[in-house]
Symmetry: C2
Subunit: 494 residues, 2 copies
């Protein structure tokens, strides 16, 4: 049935990847190829469509990059779920006309998939509400260990202070972020990340996500700027750049970090996680860092450094951030309080080069003026009173225990299946699979046992990802890690 | 000197407004015509440039719409200050290359001017810090009267609740806004604004500004969508649409509201303040509302209703919002807690048609995931415990007293100079000038007496604005109003 559709589509198609890509895309967008439909393997598709194998590969990769199809290693290529694919009602003439006014960038399946990267099959949601569930997903933290009582007193103190403020507009400096908070951030990252900057170099944002959106809107000229993203990488970051009209170019990651040879010469912005690559967990080598900054200086390219969990380093003194004094002109450093405090605070920041600050502040004003004053002041107090340093110290010990328990178990019981990648920061470790494992099926089976774990696949934008698993221990304590790994062991071949 | 420049520019220019516009724009952008340079009056420019008066008018209006020049009634047309105009240091080769990567939309003088609409000459900032200053600027509120103690208790209660939450990702519903808050908002606006909607129709935003930005990004196709804005209007709203790539079309406002005859037939989005036009203060008539909704239905156009102070109505029962059951398919209603609670909370919302909700939530996720949980929960509690209704009642009485004092004084002492426009909502009244007054000079003189007041000029995007003053009484109490008007009287002709 599918093959007939495909043959009909291919009828009259010239041996051109462009034409074929357009036809397949149209079939997906208008629903002739339904979400979830499995496309034939490349070799078979080439034969069916009467094109060369090379052409078929090209077409598949293009569809993948655009998000029209998704690839699952070992299981094939599927038509992606699209925001437009499941209309809940028949649109009337007027509604259809109104819907056509929507900026279609938000309907792009790659973008909607990226924003929902953390989701699993819908029926799994119920399973995980259970008390015996284990959540290995990365980018979560254990908020139960946050000192809420302390924070409550700080918030109350700040509210008493706000009461005495006269009514006024925020000055541009105020919109850049509360001065006390920016001052506190500058001192905090000098200590924890060896980033030397002044309060004037910082813009406070609504979490790292707004930092990405703000940078995308400030640094991307729609349909012109080429933005390199790590592949695999953090999907919502690339979504922000895609939404701003960037031409995304996925660039591979090897043991030392981003593979610079894959950077296109016309790249304008390069997005990296040098401290703790998301999701691979590796740290960019000193040599690679040096080469990256040299590349940026040589080509006038901009580097966006996402340092989401740089405070949590387990091995010796903190490695310097990529953003150092000799790279301050080209690196935009993004930090967040989501990992070291609470994601619900929605507070992050950018350390930006001087030449961009004026534009960033205008853009931040236009986006939402500034972040809530109360939250900014409370976090400023939390830092200056020393609570953040204490909390990070405490959590580093807790996460380190989990990390060691996880590593030990992975080495002891999973050596024939998984090879953990070196990881010295944060709250997750990735492990690549020995050949021949179908981890999608394993992860899927684990869901029924109330264990949520991600394979690497969802973090790739190109087909043929490395097969592997991501073990987040931000939300899973030692007991849960043991339970989860026990179930994983059972789900793997005997 | 200027005239020589202009003549040189005009040399070889054909009698074409397009060519002439391009040349003048280039001269402004590259700095040959410096910020603050006064352009010759239209008649003189036409003579100097050897073009018809019509052509000169066209060119001036285009430069105005783009923000390259600003017009001050009675004083002429000036080259606008541009973000690029005052480099603080000589850019090196690398910095120049990096700066060229910035999305130039943020350097557009119309956009930077719009985001700084509330600013006055820089040296005035010091004057207004004095205790005897009077601030008549609109869009401010008297935050000293907010029940901080109550709010503090609510925040503490919510923080105790958050402590018990397990770590997790926000569901899409969570990113649409906390359910309790959306439920509370739905009930609140049903009562105060007769807007009937369900929690599922609401997206919580970081203030009205993020609502504008979110709508602009969801509803504008860059360089394609035509967006009608009120002229005069609220500058940061049009900035959000300009930044998203909208083709802005300024549409006039008469005694009944937006002049529908001026709407271009291809308009995609129409932005209005029907309850209390900003800054004119008038209310859109029932007849005009009906015609606007009919227009939207007929043309498949979208209406964005900015209802920033609709809770504060002084004359009888609340007039229904534009967003009613028969317009729920085309109207996006924007509300905010900046006026009825505190701007520092950065909390607002959109009531959106069903067909757009999925896209709005994806876009909100991409912008910053969601608003800070603590603030959302505290405001939800403030509403459901009845504090918001009580606070609005209290403030309505206070603002009403100020409004009456202001109106009485305007009628008693200023009749020969100013004609107040009818205004039944909010915290400001506009008054248009009798012919022959130079209010720019008056407002400027008042600054030295520590009185900050806006003329209507800065709210227009086209030349030849109505001459008038805006009297905000959100931040000025009765005593300050009297002092301010006393000084105004002295600044006017005998």
């Amino acid at each position: 049935m599918f093959e007939i559709d495909l043959e009909r589509l291919a009828k009259g198609a010239r041996e051109s990847s462009v034409t074929l890509h357009r036809q397949l895309k149209a079939a997906i967008v208008d629903g002739r190829l339904r979400p979830g439909t499995r496309l034939p393997p490349v070799r078979k598709a080439a034969r069916l469509l009467g094109v060369s194998r090379n052409t078929a590969v090209k077409v598949y990769e293009k569809l993948l990059t655009e998000g029209h199809v998704v690839a699952r290693r070992g299981s094939g290529t599927y038509v992606a779920a699209s925001a437009r694919a499941a209309p809940s009602r028949v649109a009337t003439g007027l509604t259809a006309k109104l819907e056509a006014r929507l900026n279609e960038v938000w309907l792009r399946p790659d973008l909607t998939a990226a924003m929902g990267f953390w989701r699993d099959r819908p029926e799994a949601a119920g399973l995980l509400a259970r008390s015996n569930s284990v959540d290995f997903r990365p980018a979560l933290i254990d908020s139960r260990l946050f000192p809420f009582d302390l924070f409550r007193r700080l918030v109350a103190r700040q509210l008493r202070g706000l009461e005495k403020q006269p009514p006024r507009f925020k000055s541009p400096q105020g919109n850049q972020g509360n001065y006390h908070l920016r001052d506190a951030i500058a001192k905090h990252i000098a200590l924890t990340r060896a980033v030397a900057c002044l309060p004037g170099d910082i813009v406070v944002t609504s979490g790292a996500q707004q930092a990405f959106d703000l940078l995308a809107r400030a640094l991307v000229k729609p349909n012109e700027t080429v933005v390199a993203i790590e592949n695999p990488g953090y999907p919502p970051m690339r979504a922000a750049f895609a939404a701003a009209g960037a031409k995304l170019v996925p660039v591979g990651v090897d043991a030392e970090g981003l593979v610079l040879e894959q950077l296109p010469p016309d790249v304008g912005v390069i997005c990296v996680c040098p401290s703790h690559q998301f999701p691979l967990g590796i740290t960019m080598s000193a040599r690679r860092r040096k080469a990256l900054v040299e590349f940026a200086h040589k080509h006038g390219a901009i580097v966006v450094e996402d340092d989401y969990d740089g405070e949590f380093r387990y091995d010796g003194s903190p490695l310097q951030a990529l953003r150092a004094s000799d790279s301050a002109d080209v690196v935009f450093y993004v930090g967040t309080f989501s990992k070291c405090m609470l994601p619900a605070l929605r507070l992050g920041f950018i350390v930006a080069p001087r030449w961009a600050m004026q534009v960033l502040v205008v853009a931040k004003n236009c986006l939402d003026w500034h972040c809530p004053t109360l939250i900014q002041l409370a976090v400023a107090g939390f830092i200056t009173d020393g609570h953040l340093a204490r909390h990070v110290r405490k959590m580093r010990q807790i996460y380190q225990k989990r990390r060691l328990a996880l590593s030990a178990a992975l080495q002891r019981d999973f050596g024939e299946f998984l090879e953990p990648l070196p990881s010295f920061y944060g709250m997750h470790v990735a492990a690549v699979a020995r050949p021949g494992l179908n981890l999608e099926r394993v992860a899927d089976a684990l869901l029924d046992g109330h264990v949520k774990i991600h394979t690497l696949t969802r973090y790739y934008v190109t087909p043929r990802p490395r097969e592997g698993l991501v073990f987040g221990y931000g939300a899973a304590d030692v007991a849960q890690i043991e339970r989860g790994l026990g179930l994983l062991r059972k789900a793997l071949p005997k």
